[in-house]
């Protein structure tokens, strides 16, 4: 690696030539405050918090974008630098809705931390402040422009990473606003509700629609049988909300906490993930054998589904008709389970704990009520669950060992890995290859579809044929892959997850500040925990899950049966992007 010699705060160091001043400072263990910076996603030098003195430069320079060069002399802590940062921060604060005490991001707010770190005790430059209405029509995302600091991380995430581009800066100067076009609500534009914007927001300007009240209310209602299910990605992230290191597995603590909250049953969505594999695997085999529409594309990610309906309606017939696992689970709970337990399905209240904000939207889709009742009544994100746990004063880190409830508490490792990009594909391949080959496979780990490459491909031989598979995560990568398919590239099976890294990095997961996110790959760390969990499972293939077998024996008969279609499958519709009024 080519290096250059620089002097930073009188220390002479050698750093790689492609470093920015911020990276060089980090290398030298020198902290520089940042606000708009988010590595690889938003490097625009806009917020001016990371200003430093560069010898020879006319004005102060933004460390996050200033490239190092041979002989560069940098001072990160001069009176001028400190004053400039403070004045700029006071200006930002002067136009920020400072209701920190009641802000959802209090204690996890990058602006609040900056104000503390920079020892701001007075805002000298108060003046006119924006007063704009909240955008809270979306079932998933609330946008509060009065808290927005215009760092544009959300814009870059939505536009450059996700290629969704439904928010951007409008107006200029003091009136500048990050908003959907024509100042519409996020609910009225082709927003996929993926919530990645929330995860990168340094403040409380973007947040999930909080549905915890609905759950508290249900829990307090003696007439209701309130059950909860948790997605695989939740267990490897919720610990972060309670001080555990990134990538900690907290399955038992989570189950125990849910019990304490008063849920009648705590189920594992992974069981339904196994069910999904049975249905989707069968669908794949049928399509391949009967000349059906290929490639088959997964449908577990509601953000991806909405993206497809808006942007790639020509691929709607390629989408698997399978509902996402938690919706399948909801339908099973209000049919099979209700019957088995002798509970009136109208009295069953299903809560899904998801790493996802788009699932809130998904649960509201009219298609998702095949029993006559909503499959899922309320979706909470990982963050909302953490809030409930805190509100109930449960010490998350000190809870007894607990396991998921039966009759559907048992899942396979295949169901667990749904939480990481490539997981659905790998789970499907574990089952489909064995069905096609008619015998168990030796190797069940498909490394080609793991990892954080944007688009991954694999060719798997089974039943005398070659199955060509592709995996994309993050909607920008999905777009690339679909363009490839449009240009003639042929695949049998494609997995798409709306969020970069898959569900482990979903829009409902614990928020890590830029100071962590920029240098730690949340996707990889959380996925590592997922794969560890998989490895420790006694059963690692969906079709070997005895609970799934039982479900088919007692209820559905066989994958793809009429009853299965009625309850576990759905359909999609093309959506207008910006309909004319």
């Amino acid at each position: 690696m080519e290096t250059v010699n620089i002097t930073i705060d009188s220390r002479k160091i050698q750093v790689p030539k492609n470093y920015t001043v911020l990276e060089a400072a980090r290398f030298a263990n020198i902290e520089i405050p940042t606000l708009c910076f988010l590595k690889d996603i938003n490097e625009i030098g806009a917020c001016r918090m990371c200003l430093v003195e560069i010898q020879g430069a006319r004005s102060l320079q933004a460390a996050c974008v200033y490239p190092v060069s041979e002989g560069l002399v940098i001072n990160t802590q001069t009176p001028a630098v400190r004053e400039a940062r403070k004045v700029t921060l006071e200006l930002i604060l002067s136009n920020h809705d400072k209701k920190c005490l009641t802000c959802v991001r209090s204690n996890n707010c990058e602006l609040q931390k900056l104000a503390q770190d920079l020892n701001i005790r007075d805002i000298r430059f108060e003046g006119e402040s924006a007063k704009m209405p909240l955008d809270e029509i979306s079932p998933s995302i609330v946008r509060d422009p009065n808290k927005c600091v215009l760092c544009r991380r959300c814009v870059s995430m939505c536009k450059n990473v996700q290629s969704v581009a439904v928010i951007d800066t409008t107006e200029r100067g003091f009136k500048t606003l990050v908003t959907p076009a024509f100042n519409k609500s996020l609910n009225e534009v082709p927003c996929t509700m993926c919530g990645q914007c929330i995860n990168v927001c340094p403040v409380g300007a973007l947040r999930e629609k909080d549905d915890t009240d609905k759950v508290w209310e249900a829990l307090a209602n003696k007439d209701l049988h309130v059950v909860v299910q948790t997605a695989p990605a939740v267990r490897v992230a919720i610990g972060e909300e309670f001080g555990m290191p990134i990538g900690s597995r907290a399955t038992s603590n989570m189950v125990a906490a849910l019990r304490r909250l008063g849920f009648s049953k705590v189920f594992d969505t992974d069981t339904a993930a196994d069910l999904t594999i049975m249905e989707e695997g069968t669908e794949l085999i049928n399509r391949i054998k009967n000349g059906g529409k290929l490639p088959l594309i997964t449908s577990c990610s509601p953000g991806w589904i909405k993206f497809c309906e808006h942007n790639f309606p020509e691929f709607i017939d390629n989408l698997s008709s399978c509902k996402s696992p938690h919706e399948m689970f909801g339908a099973v709970l209000k049919s099979y389970y209700a019957e088995k337990m002798g509970i009136d399905p109208s009295k069953i209240f299903v809560v899904s704990i998801m790493p996802c904000t788009a699932k809130k939207f998904e649960a509201q889709r009219p298609e998702m009520s095949s029993t006559g009742y909503p499959d899922v009544d309320v979706v909470l994100t990982t963050r909302e669950l953490a809030r409930m746990i805190r509100e109930a004063a449960i010490d998350f880190n000190d809870l007894p060992e607990r396991q998921f409830d039966d009759p559907m508490g048992e899942a396979s490792g295949a169901g667990v890995i749904f939480g990481a990009t490539g997981g659905v594909m790998e789970a499907a391949l574990r089952t489909v290859t064995e069905i096609l080959n008619g015998k168990p496979s030796d190797n069940i780990e498909y490394n080609a579809v793991r990892g954080i490459d944007g688009v991954k491909e694999a060719v798997v031989e089974a039943g005398g044929m070659k199955i060509k598979a592709a995996v994309a995560h993050g909607l920008g990568n999905a777009r690339k892959l679909l363009e490839k398919v449009k240009n003639g590239e042929e695949y049998h099976f494609i997995e798409i997850m709306a969020c970069p890294g898959g569900c482990v990095n979903g829009g409902g997961q614990p928020i890590q500040p830029s100071s962590v996110r920029s240098w730690v790959d949340l996707r990889a760390e959380r996925a590592k925990a997922i794969y560890e969990e998989d490895k420790e499972m006694p059963i690692r293939k969906s079709h070997e899950n005895p609970r799934v077998k039982m479900l088919y024996d007692e209820f559905f008969k066989e994958p793809g049966s009429h009853k299965a279609h009625e309850l576990l499958h759905t359909h999609y519709t093309k959506r207008e992007n910006y309909p004319e009024e």
Partner: protein
Amino acid sequence: MQIYRAHVLVCGGTGCVSSSSEKIMSEFETHLNNNNLTNEVKVVKTGCFGLCARGPIVVVYPEGCMYTMVKVEDVKEIVEEHLLKGRIVRRLLENKHDDEGVETSIEGVEFFKKQLRIALRNCGVINPELIEEYIAFDGYKALAKVLTEMTPEEVIDTIKRSGLRGRGGGGFPTGLKWEFTAKSQDDQKFVCCNADEGDPGAFMDRSVLEGDPHSVIEAMAIAGYAVGANQGYIYIRAEYPIAVKRLNIAIEQAKEYGLLGKNIFGTDFNFDLEIRLGAGAFVCGEETALMTSIEGKRGEPRPRPPFPAVKGLWNKPTLLNNVETYANIPPIINKGAEWFASIGTEKSKGTKVFAVGGNINNTGLVEVPMGTTLREVVYDIGGGIPNGKKFKAAQTGGPSGGCIPASHLDAPIDYDSLIQLGSMMGSGGLIVMDEDTCMVDIAKFFLEFTVDESCGKCPPCRIGTKRMLEILDRITEGKGEIEDITKLEVLAKNIKASALCGLGQTAPNPILSTLRYFKDEYMAHVTDKKCTAGVCKSMMQYVINADMCKSCGICAKVCPVKCISGEKKVPYVIDSSKCVKCGACMEKCPFKAIFKNV
């Protein structure tokens, strides 16, 4: 080729066009036709003469008589008297020192005496819509010379030696900029022209493009050859329709003549040019914002480095110069670097065009050698201050510049002396202010502009300029406190140091320079609640001098809020609590009995 005995040059610049010069032109055609003179006298539509205050302007050759403030009705007389009978229409002559019939020509006009026109050399001389006229005035000779006789290195060396510096504001050495771009290695490079003239009151770039568009096209082709680019873009504001039209005509003509396109002058040099229209954002005059806008994105600056010479338009090495800078290139190539370097001061070579406005008699466009003093521009060329008022300050550099007080009237105008005085050259706006100007109000005026034009990307500019404006609002409303001055100083200093781009970094300049030279005025506003210039309405009252009032009642009649009362033989009185300070009474009082009480 038809030979004419006389030429009638009519200014076709935006200023004169807006005062009917096009009608004047057609009126000339009509009357020449009526008098059977169409074969003897030719009417030529030219670019701007510069003396905009006196427009519409008509110049008749061979005498070179400059007729000013010509009306459509005057045309018949000019045709029948001057063109038919050879009798100069003296009442319309700009040059009034011709009692003896000695001096009638344009050269004798005071306004032009101290000027040296290099960038504006063809403005008011040729028809900008005819490439042949440009060629007749040495047009495209410089391009031919560089393509056939010079290496790119020699071209760059010539520009470097000429000492030419960027005329757009920063004053960066042009040759050096060309050299940086030339040294960047890439398969594609671009040459851009910044014609997004945005300073309030500045219109030199518009005039060059309206009056001599080919000079810019030629220069851009030369630049393309020098730096190794074969594609150019002219970014021009859509609010300049005449300039855009003439540029389009010029580009088409240059293409027809093979002066743009492939194998120019039979060499293997190819160069094409396209126009991109700006939507009127001031910040798009900042180079990185300009290029972002050309790329079709929201016009916002980005941090430098990387500089455009390394990563510019579409991340390719890009050379960006301003219109006036380009207009200087062909003469430098034709006449040599030494000629150009012999004009001006030690570090500022050549001339600079100023758009002179405000409280000055000869509002217009002035091109003077660098080093000319402010006094010469204001008094000798500009004709001094109207109504016998005193000069108070000159504002240069537009919203990024500052005010220069009367004590520095004799300072030579060049890049460095203006910076030293706390102002800047900017693009060359020069606004003259007389004693009735409130300097706090002036600072507020410019700040209102920057607050409006801030792109909103960085907080120091987005919020900081707004906060400074709020403070100035308080001060001019008589609600200022002494700490407000300190706050202004803290904000100004830090915004200058912290803002992302030149717009924000220079936004505090009007405040800093007025604080530097006119702090007493700020203090008077804050501590005594007085605006000595009588501009800030909250601190001023209209009063009727009882001794002078003849009780005519006119003031009471014109008062829109009926706050003036009185009766015959009793002096009228203004009820200050109701007065909205519109000034109508003072204006209408036939006895000049109403005064501002400051």
